[in-house]
């Protein structure tokens, strides 16, 4: 079990570090790449929980699909104009207060200790062995409604994109 702790620690630190990197980088493409590493790290954690299907879908969808479009857009937009514009809009104080409140909540939860959290029994946390079929079954049996709603939502998004693109051409 020692190995899984090491792996978890590794993935967690990579995720946090690259998230911080993403926010602080001056060069947009560097921040995009660090966002990709964050997503990959979370995929690693899914794998840790033996959720291979989720691991693979996370990579195909997020990193292989959406982030490619992000990087695509970054390159099409003319970088040097946006770099010259002011990055921060002087709301330091509001941001500071919010950060403090959030930090306090996190500290309080950790202080209470995991005993108070009503975590589901241990074995459920780990996904069943052949989880592709399991995910498929769950998706089309218990959660059929959210699945349909999600697909309608995607359809709306696609039609919106087509309409916007059409006008410009």
């Amino acid at each position: 079990m020692a190995l899984s702790y090491i792996l978890f620690a590794f993935f967690a630190t990579v995720a946090v570090v690259s998230a911080i990197l993403m926010v602080t980088r001056r060069n947009i493409v560097h921040s995009a790449v660090s966002l990709i590493t964050t997503l990959l790290a979370t995929a690693g954690i899914f794998l840790q929980l033996r959720g291979e299907f989720l691991f693979v879908v996370q990579i195909i969808l997020y990193v292989g699909g959406i982030m490619v479009l992000f990087v695509f857009v970054i390159m099409l937009v003319n970088l040097d104009i946006s770099l010259r514009s002011v990055q921060f809009n002087r709301q330091k104080w509001v941001a500071g207060v919010l950060a403090l409140v959030l930090g306090a909540q996190v500290v309080f939860a950790v202080w209470l200790g995991s005993g108070t959290l009503r975590l589901p029994p241990r074995h459920l946390a780990v996904m069943p062995a052949r989880n592709t079929e399991a995910v498929g079954q769950a998706l089309f049996s218990q959660y059929i409604l959210p699945f349909e709603i999600a697909s309608v939502l995607l359809l709306v998004a696609m039609i919106g994109a087509v309409v916007m693109a059409k006008r410009r051409v």
Partner: protein, 446 residues
Amino acid sequence: MSHLTMPHLIPTSIQPYVLPVLWGVVIVAVLPLLAGYIVLLERKVMADMQARLGPMRVGPHGLLQPIADAVKLLLKEDIIPHDADRLMFWVAPLISVTMALLAYAAMPFGPAFQIADLNVGLLFILAISSLGIYGIVLGGWASNSHYSLLGALRSAAQLVSYETAAGLGLVSALLLAGSLSMREIVQAQYDQGEWFVFSVPIGFFIYLVGSIAETNRAPFDLPEAESELVAGYMTEYSGFRWSLYFLAEYANMIIVAGIATTLFLGGWLRPFPRFNDRLPGTSVEILDALPSLVFLGVAAYCFWLAPKQPVKIQKLVMGLVGGLCVALAAALAGSLFAPDAVRLGVHGGFWFMAKVMAYLYAFLWIRFTFPRYRFDQLMRLGWRFLIPLALVNLIAVAVALVVSQEWGWHPRVTTILATLATLSVAVWLASSDEKHETAIRTADGE
């Protein structure tokens, strides 16, 4: 890993760790050599199709050409453009190569030779190879030159759109296989006694076209089309860095061929797996003797050629190649009498590589006969023809399966009906596309 026939030198406790590493090292070592020899094969086949000889100078019939190329690339000066983004410039080819090599983890080279039999094997390979796009996009952006940026954007758009088409082509075969693990897919083809290429031919066709586009091969090699964008995203790369991209491209080609073989051409299965009447008097199935006969034939040809070589050293190397073929033939023949697992392992490997090579030959053949698509035609083919066709094919195959299960018709009959239905839709799609295309041309012609 239990089916591994390796003598148990390694204590079982650490076997699951050591063996994958061992196989990994073997693949990472063998792959550049294999990629190099595929480049030589490509140049030889291209030459043969163009009434000329191809590389003949380095080694007999140019057999040592890949080594010469590799050494040249190592010695070439490694230029980094003036204000390129150095970090990205360095990382981009690395991303491409690592993703290409990583995808071999789930590739079943034979019943015995597979690093990790994930139960999401196919999806894993697709996911990892889709990460390869970053190598191209970041490389194009980092070299900070007008041409390579245009090339990078074009290849990203092409890869993303053809990945969907190829993926949908694969899904139609997955419906029949019922599982994502590469090993179970091959097993399903053995159980159904039929390669999926015969039951879902249109899926195979879509995947063939999609895979050509996905590896930037002609006639879809627009990103590095010499005449317009000079060399696309690779323009600013030179020396070893450039060869990393080159290695990534050929590794991707082998992966794509591997997927097609596993899914459509029955992975490591022998052409007629169930036909097993024996050679008279021995326990050897007739078809099993085939591979060793092939290698014996090649060896004979090499020995016949050897004395004809002009230079003494070439005689020697040609003899060496002949010897190698004889050794392979002996190994294949020897394994016939070894325990079952070894025989299956060795022969499976041979058949897998034979099919991969056949698939790659189709790549090369297509490359030298077709001119290049224009970028808008390429996109139009992808989005207006291939993806809709793949969706229709998917629905048709699904309906065929349900019909064969519910009404008890023989699955082969329903799949053939599904193929015919999809074909008619394809013809309609092509003709409507044609009319539309001429409409555009006449519109912007005036």
